[in-house]
Every structure is written in C-alpha cells, then in structure tokens.
C-alpha cells in the first residue's frame, strides 16, 4: 500500500542529466526539494532534486490549455461559471529533476553512487524518508551550520555543516545583502566555540559580530562558551572583556602598502630600497626623515616626486591609533597563540578606516601564515596546531587579482600550512577566477546577480549549473553547500543564531529532541 502523503507520481522519461516525472496536481512540490525515485527494476533509490515545475494536461492538442483559459476568461466576462471535471485526472504537474545520484543497499550498508544510469520507466517518485537521509550522515561536516533543507521544508534531524578538515582548502560564503551572511558566520563561530576544532579569526569591519549590532540580535559575546573560548579585539569603545587592537609598525610590510594603494614602479623600488636598508624600522624612517635626506641617503636614485608620494602615504599609517612604534606592543603573537588553542578570535574593526582595516587584516593574515609555515618544518609541532581559518568580509577587495598581496598567496599556498581563508562576499563576480577556484567549500546563499552565479557555477566542486533558478529563489537563511566531501550540493537552512543560542542554553544536548520528531 502506497502512503498517499509520500507518493508524488511516476517517472515519464528523460536522461541521465534530467529526470521528469508526472506529479499529482494536488501534491505540493517545491523547487530544490529532494525526492526519491524508486527504480522499478532494481533496488536503486535515485535522489532527485527538483529544478523546475511545469503545468501538464492530458489533452492531445497543445492549444488546449490556452483555449480553456480563454473559456474561463470569457465566462468571467459573461458571468458564466465553468467547471473542470476530473481535474485530478486531466491536469497534473511535470516536475523536472536533476538526478543527484542513487543509493544502493539499506541501513548502515547503504552506498551512494553518482548518477550514471536512470530509473526504469514509470518508477514511482516519493518524498524522502528519514531512512533515505541516513546516508548523508557521513557527509554532513563537523562544524554545524544548520539543517538539511528539502525545498521549503527543513529536515531538522539531519544537521548540515562544513568539514573542519577541509577548511584549510578555503571556504567562500556568497550572498546578496540581507540573505544571511552574518548570521551564517555567527553560527559557524558558535560551532567553533563549542568544539574548538579550529582556530577561527574573524575580521569584522562592520562591528556586527560582537553583540549582534542591533538590540534584537545576539552576538558572539552572548555565546555560553564565549568566556572561555572567545577572544575579542576592538578598535572602538565596547563594554566587556575586550582588548584593543594594536599592531607594531615593524609588522607592516612593503606588500601591505601595495595592498592599500597603487604604486608606480619607481615608488615600489624606493620602498624596497628603504626596506633593504632599514628593515623593521622602514616605516618610522620614511615618516621621520625629510624628503631631501632620503634623496641623499639613496644617492639621488629616486625622484623627489616618488619620495613625496611614499612619505605622504606612510604618514597616513603613522597617524593611525592602532599602529605603534613600540615593537613590544602587538596583539599579533597573542592572537596566533589563541588560534592555535582552538579559540575564536574576533577582531572588531568598526572603529578603523578602510585603509586601517585592510592593513590590520593583512598584517594578521600574514603573521598566521608565516608562523604556521615555520611550524611546518617541525612535524610534531605542526601536528599539534589546528587549522586556522581567517574570515574576511568584503573579500572581493583583496581577491580581485590572483597575485600580489598576502591573501591571494594564502589562497594558493595556505592549505599546506593549515591556513585557510573564509572569503565572504556579495559580489563573487569581482573575485579572480583563479582565486575562487581555490575555494573548495562554497556556501551559497541567495544571489540575485546572474554573473555572480555563473562565476560560482564554474568553480564549484559539484555541478550546480542546473540549480541556477533555485539559487535565485533562495530565501534568507537558505543556502547550498558544495565541498570536497559533499556528494552533491547540499541544500541547507542555516540556524538562526538567536534560536541556536536559545536551544544551546535551555536544552542539554543529549536530551535534545528534533523539532520535527514524528514528522515521518
């Protein structure tokens, strides 16, 4: 006996890239929903993701539907009612699905295979059951972000996240404004605060992570593990157990300057020459030394104009409250130590200018990369440190080119040295293709811009080309995860951070009951 609520229809045809089935007219099917096609001739259970839904009818003439609609319209105008008899028999929906793969076997022996064949003719299509989702357990990732989503339905008993071991291979979080990037990052940080499996550095230019930024929202400081596992550095007045952002001028490199402003070739040569001569004192030297003296110090090799430009820009950094000439005062070393003990380090840069923010971010990222790189030489020490993930907002600012700057370098080389990037952007189309191809885990929330979607589609680990319309129609908090360890692009509903905190505080984990227990 077929469960009517689960039974949706029968396969009508198509190929290995698309399966079409006829669905009952009165059964709701949603874009992105994951369904099961039970092959009639084998024990294969095909996992099908809905990518389009169309009207269908049994009429032999293609003009039937418009003619019938015309009759209804005519009736509307003439106050005549019409009634479509046997509507459930004559009308139906065509549901187009992308086959994600198929399952073989049952229980713990179930195996997932990529879709290299098709279900037999007229195979029954039904909603997925709890048992069908069981195979996903091995792919769902230890850094939990939310729950599996099937269309509009949230499958609460199937948690979805990212695998911490994959994060040295970098992660991208992409979404249009308002689609839930900040909530996602808070949720990710929450998982790390709970587990300590990663060192997570969050560079927050907007100051929205520490306390949520709005009265009704919660921040990382509200997390029950914040006291022990969260370290916060701020560039503004913030209440609580926080430290001030300070970096030493000696930590600033010529490369950092190049990240902040465009320099001509002679200007770069001047900077490098100063660095070669002054080393860690290069910045105070440029700021404090008269232009004419610099001209003389370098044997009149550099034009006075070049010296003027370099001095003027160096002075901007020198005026920053967050940069000190005292080489003993710096947060960098402490932050790295904290990351190496699996803590979440939040650097709130809301009080800094954009130039300062980028500079501080670059200095910290380079320091982490270099320290991890140096530890790599000692296998024992290297094994002890966790992967350090650097979360960077508005990532398109530093990833618009594949070369130059510490961030592109980490994107290329970081995986080897346990240094991962979490690039957050609402405009992936502005990120260089080569850089984006280095992001092995993508979390895609709603993206309205076609070019943004195309850029990601060409770089994702799984084929998401057929999910274009689904990505367009994602609601706030809904997303897709693709990664080296996911069998297909996993649909996700990100936990609302505030709800997650409530659950964490009120319910002991072992007693937690799924919200939808008993649904199936």
């Amino acid at each position: 006996m077929v469960d009517e609520k689960m039974n949706l229809g029968r396969v009508t045809g198509k190929d290995v890239t698309e399966i079409v089935f006829r669905a009952y007219r009165d059964q709701d099917v949603f874009l992105g929903e994951m369904l099961i096609g039970d092959c009639q001739d084998s024990d294969r259970r095909f996992i099908l993701r809905v990518i389009n839904i169309m009207h269908g009818n049994e009429a032999s003439e293609s003009s039937w539907a418009p003619r019938t609609a015309g009759a209804f319209m005519d009736g509307d105008n003439k106050d005549q009612e019409y009634h479509v008899y046997d509507a459930d028999r004559r009308l139906y929906n065509h549901v187009v699905c992308a086959p994600l793969g198929y399952l073989m076997g049952q229980g713990n022996d179930v195996q997932f295979r990529s879709p290299k064949t098709i279900p037999s003719h007229f195979s029954r299509v039904r909603r997925a059951s709890k048992e069908d989702y069981r195979f996903l357990e091995r792919y769902l990732g230890d850094v939990k972000l939310g729950s599996l989503r099937s269309g509009e339905q949230v499958i609460r008993h199937v948690p979805v996240g990212v695998a911490s071991k994959d994060l040295a291979q970098h992660m991208g979080v992409f979404a249009t404004t308002g689609m839930g990037k900040s909530n996602l990052m808070k949720r990710l940080a929450g998982s790390v605060l709970e587990s300590g499996t990663l060192g997570l550095l969050i560079l927050d230019p907007h100051g929205e992570y520490i306390d949520g930024g709005k009265e009704e929202l919660r921040g990382l400081m509200h997390h029950p593990r914040a006291a022990s596992n969260l370290e916060t550095y701020v560039t503004r007045e913030v209440e609580g157990n926080v430290s001030s952002v300070k970096i030493s001028s000696s930590e600033i490199s010529i490369q950092d300057m190049e990240n902040l402003w465009p320099f001509s070739q002679p200007q770069v040569e001047l900077l490098n020459a100063v660095w070669g001569r002054e080393r860690d004192n290069w910045l105070p030297y440029i700021v404090d030394t008269e232009g004419a003296q610099i001209y003389q110090d370098f044997n009149e090799q550099f034009h006075e104009g070049s010296i003027g430009v370099v001095k003027r820009r160096a002075s901007v950094l020198n005026r920053s409250h967050f940069i000190t000439r005292d080489t003993r005062i710096s947060m960098t070393k402490t932050i790295i130590e904290q990351l190496h003990t699996g803590k979440v380090v939040l650097v709130d840069l809301a009080g800094a200018s954009e130039t300062e923010e980028l500079l501080i971010s670059s200095v910290l990222a380079r320091a982490i990369f270099q320290i991890n790189q140096s530890k790599f030489k000692d296998k024992k020490k290297f094994k002890e440190i966790p992967i350090c993930l650097i979360a960077l907002e508005e990532a398109q600012r530093v990833f618009n080119r594949a070369w130059g700057g510490i961030f592109p370098q980490i994107a290329r080389e970081g995986r080897k040295f346990k240094t991962g990037l979490c690039a957050i952007s609402q405009q992936p189309k502005l990120i260089d293709n080569e850089v984006i191809s280095q992001f092995n885990t993508l979390v895609i929330l709603g993206l309205a811009d076609r070019q943004d979607r195309e850029r990601l589609s060409s770089s994702a680990r799984q084929d998401i080309s057929k999910l274009d319309y689904e990505i367009q129609t994602l609601m706030t908090g809904e997303g897709l995860i693709t990664g080296p360890n996911t069998p297909f692009a996993l649909p996700l509903k990100v936990d609302l951070y505030e709800s997650y905190l409530n659950e964490l505080v009120t319910e002991p984990k072992e007693n937690k009951k799924p919200i939808d227990s008993g649904f199936f």
Partner: protein, 374 residues
Amino acid sequence: MRFLSFICLPKVSESISFSYLPYTLKYAVIDFRRMLKGLNEKELENVVSQMVSDMEEPQPGSAQEKGIIEIKGDITESNFQAFTKSENAEMLAVDGGSATILNAGSFVVAGVRVGHVIFHGKEFSGASEPDYHLLHLASGHLEKYYEIFFEKIVGGNPPDYPKGLEEAVGRIRALMEWNQVEKIQSQDIPEGAVLAFDGAMWAGIKGVGDLLERIVEQAKQKKIILCGISKKSMLVHNSRPLIPAVQMLGDDSLPGATWHYPLDTGNYAEKLFGKIYLAKLHPRSRYVFRVDLSLPGGVEPEQAFGKLAYYADDPTYVGYPYPLARVHNDVAFSRAEVSDLKAMLRAAALQKGMNPKEWQLTFQDFHEILDTGR
C-alpha cells in the same frame, strides 16, 4: 452566399505568407493548399456551387437514407423554451468504442468495448469494467457471429443481417451499448438520475424495438430520466440539415440563454422511443445537440434539460454533458492501444505456429508505408 465566403478558397497559384497568420487560419490555409494540389479547380467550384444551391433551394424528399428523420412543421420562435441549470444532479453515462485491429480484406479483427461512468454532483464516483470483445469477423461466418450477440442481448433470431464487416462491427457495438443501458437500469439508481447514452432512441437495427421498449419502460418505472445525445444528427427539415437552421434562430431569439426546441417527428412511432428535442445546454456553447428524452411521469423536460446543463459547463466540452465525454474517452481506442493489440495478436499467432511471413503478407497495408512519408 454566407457558406461560400466562409470557405474562402485561395487559388493554388496564389503566394501566401504563412508566418504571421493566426494559428488556426494558418492551418486552414495549409490544408487547403495541400488538398487543392492536383485537384481541378473547376470541379471544386462545381461542388461548392451545388452545396450552396442545395441550401438555397431545398428539394423535399431528396435524402431518404436510413436513419434520416424529416421534421414536420415550420421552425418558429414560439417553440423555443428557455430553461435554467439545476443546482445539483446525478448522471450515469454509457458509450461504446470500436476499432479495426487487423484487416485482411476477407476478414477483420475488431475491438469493441462499452462502458459507463457515474457522477454524483460534480464528482466522478465510479466506472464499470468495460464490456470488451475482440471480434474476428469474416464474410463467411458474419451471420453466425451476429446471431450470437443478437440472441444474447435482444433475444431470438435477428430479422436481418449486416451486409458488410464494418456494418457488423457497428451493429454489435450498438447492441452492446443498449445491453449496457439495460444492465445499469437493473442496478440501484436513485430516482431522478439521468441515464445518458451516446446516440438516439431510434431502432436503427431491425428487431431491437422490443429491447428499446423494455429499456424505456424500465426507466419510467424506476423514475430515471433516459436520454440519448447525438454528436452527429441526421435530422433534416425540407431535406436541409435541421440543427443549423434551428440554432441560428435560437441564438437570435434567446441570446445568452439555454434553451430546448421540441421537434414534431410525425410517423416514426415504430422506430422512435422517445421525444426528440434540440437543445443548447450552455449559453456560451457553439453546439446544439439532438436530445432524445424519455421522461418518467411528473418530470418536465425543463427539469431534465436543467440536469443535463448542470454537467455541460466543462470549458473543454462546453454545452456537452461531461460524463458522456468522459465515458467516450474511456472506451475509445487510442492508436497506441491498437498498435499494442496488433503486436499482441501477432505474438500469439506466431506462438500457435503461424509463419511470420504469412502474417506479414496477410496484414500488410501499403497505407502504413505511405503514411510514414506524409
């Protein structure tokens, strides 16, 4: 002249751009061009002229073929009766379908099936297993075959026999339809329900008068409205098709209304077992149907038509009661089904030892080859 302007034939030599024509017009034009190719235009004009002159100058008694009923009296506005749609109804509908599965010239294998559906209110509430026969009809044993059906359904020996294979299939199907109507009547049917079938209450087959009389009487006893609706009518008035003339007058005199028009059929009492009407069952319908009614005592025609109209509001079949459309589609043979039956018969015949080549040569039809190139 209205007819001529409607046909509006293009000349063969005329160059027509199709791309921007409306869908229906485009197809009409394409069809005409194809049909005209190789046809003498003069001959075509003669046919059209003859049709038009027949319409304008009718010749009484020129079409006394079997089944054609000549309606007496004048068509007058005062005979139109408006009626209103019922609020609710119950209908049982019967129809049959047939198809030639194999044709060897000297014999045919035909499929015939008859079924019925039941509607309560607007909802389908059930259907019968169709009465389904696969017939092997050959000139040599046609009579024997027909006798079996006649004896079983009507009783006794038939007074005459079908003259050809096609007529035999038609007669057997008609007998099966009547048989189905009679069977349904023996079931528990609520009073006031409509039992509708496709066709007329007309004893078109010799010897079925008793059967029809039985059916009509039983319907009256059970207070069932018995009703035949003809998709194609052979009613004529002064040798001209009757329905267009009545419909044009009805549309003018009762615009936007549902109406019926009772007909005076004169001396057909031996063959006719109900009263004949023409009826427009939906105000927006383009079709008027012949409706043969047999009403139980105390039921007025307006009530019966109201119930038919209740079911005539499907936007696809505007003006035709949906249960009849449904049963028609249920019992009809699709091309795919005919093809499947053909394959099934072939497999069974070969299993019984028939030579495949003999099968091929017996049933091959070059039309099938010709059709593939169309």
